[in-house]
């Protein structure tokens, strides 16, 4: 566990840089995390992040398929928004835990 400063705010993150407390999140923090990954967040990106946050809040498990069915983007679109690791990155920027695909 470590503390980092993102968008002028001190937030708690784990070893992999995922936020520990989803309530510390705001859009500016997301933008800064995305920038580090070389991604400029658009409205579409934010729509996905909001969807992930609300789904995660309900305690549901997140899968790429679920995002693909959300009506916001299809799976291909999700890959284009978050190249290299759609769910890995999007959940990081959304301030929620890394989706634990079960063993």
């Amino acid at each position: 566990m470590a503390q980092v400063t993102l968008a002028g705010q001190t937030v708690e993150v784990n070893d992999e840089g995922y936020m520990v407390d989803a309530s510390q999140w705001n859009k500016e923090i997301a933008a800064e995390m995305a920038k580090e990954q070389g991604i400029e967040l658009s409205d579409k990106h934010y729509e996905v992040l909001e969807f992930l946050r609300s789904t995660s809040e309900k305690g549901e498990t997140l899968t790429i398929r679920k995002v693909g069915k959300s009506g916001i983007v299809d799976i291909k679109g999700l890959y284009q928004l978050f190249p290299g690791g759609p769910l890995k990155y999007s959940s990081k920027f959304a301030g929620i835990p890394k989706p634990a695909s079960c063993v």
């Binding site: 549901e60 498990t61 899968t63 790429i64 398929r65 679920k66 069915k69 799976i75 291909k76 999700l78 890959y79 190249p83 290299g84 690791g85 759609p86 890995k88 634990a100 695909s101 079960c102 063993v103």
Partner: protein, 412 residues
Amino acid sequence: MKNILILGGGTAGTMMANKFFKALDRQEWQITIVDQHKSHYYQPGFLFIPFGIYNKSDVIKPKGDFFPSGVKVIYQEIDKINGEENRVSLMDGTSLKYDYLIIATGTQTRPDETPGLLGNEWRKSIFDFYTIEGAVALQQFFKTWEGGKLVMCIAELPFKCPVAPIEFVCLAEAYFTEKGIRDKVDITYVTPLAGAFTKPIATKMLSQLLDEKNIKVVPDFYLESVDNEKKVLKSYDELEIPFDALTIVPLNMGSEMIERSGLGDDMNYVETDKETLQSKKFENIFVLGDAANLPTSKAGSVAHFAAEILFENMMNAFENRPMTAKFDGHANCYIETGYGKGALIDFNYDTEPLPGTFPLPGIGPFGLLKNTKINHYGKMIFRWIYWHILLRGKEMPIEAHMTMAGKKETID
């Protein structure tokens, strides 16, 4: 008379029918079980069929052999559950009332969900060993195959028995070595996960193992479609992997009956309390086995441990006592690694697979995350245990809850 209705007569449903039949007063309780098929397959045995270690006759028995004679058995496809009316309708138009319902309809493979998978090459050079038909077809294919690129691909998470594809590539490696054509077979393991497995310590051990066996791992590959003409796998981010022979774990989904009943998530798994095993929508509906959306492996061992918890909780519920038994997500899986050896992992919701030893009175200890002969025997003995002890709902000398005894928090 009160009615317990069990949907699905596979591993989970059969265990519960046996447990309740033994425990409950037959004058007071009627137990009914419904399944669409008459044959019970020992699914862990499918893994061995492609390599001729088992044949179909080694893994099949009539379901009826495992249901106690006082249990009412109906062979019919289930249409849907109407939770408000405590009623289940079957495809033949009849319906059944229940006081308590257990959903144990498992998970099914859905090759139809991936474009191109059911194309011209299906069961010609593309195989699924998660069904009896696929496993038998692959045995035939391997008999005369002269080598090339063998790709094992996992289409999507979650899928049942998450170690099975790793076992498959290990057994394939040994099989082609013994045939003397290992140098002509290039084996690649393709997974949507970030590594060979989900949790860090087990991933480390299994990656080393695959590396030693010269099996390539392609992580983070999310399958979009299969091109039958070019014989390539395509991912959503437009990577391509060529194959000469493809074995696939198709998308796994719960029964469509769950969707029709409005009880499932987007993969048709029933929303279930992970500790009590009660459905989140109805108090008198319980869920066991692969059909539940629990955050642990979909495996027979999980169903077995969970069955003990479910039995206790339902017995409490029958007498209006609080449901005090809590499932911890305990899973215990032997991993067959080829050449007469195997590894073992033991874990739960909170504890990832750790190294050490696993105590088992009379037979063990087994080495955890270690590649040993005794673990292989554990796996082979399991078939006998499955037919004779597990399905019949008898006690096994393993605790339902995971124990830390013998486990070490670090790797040697």
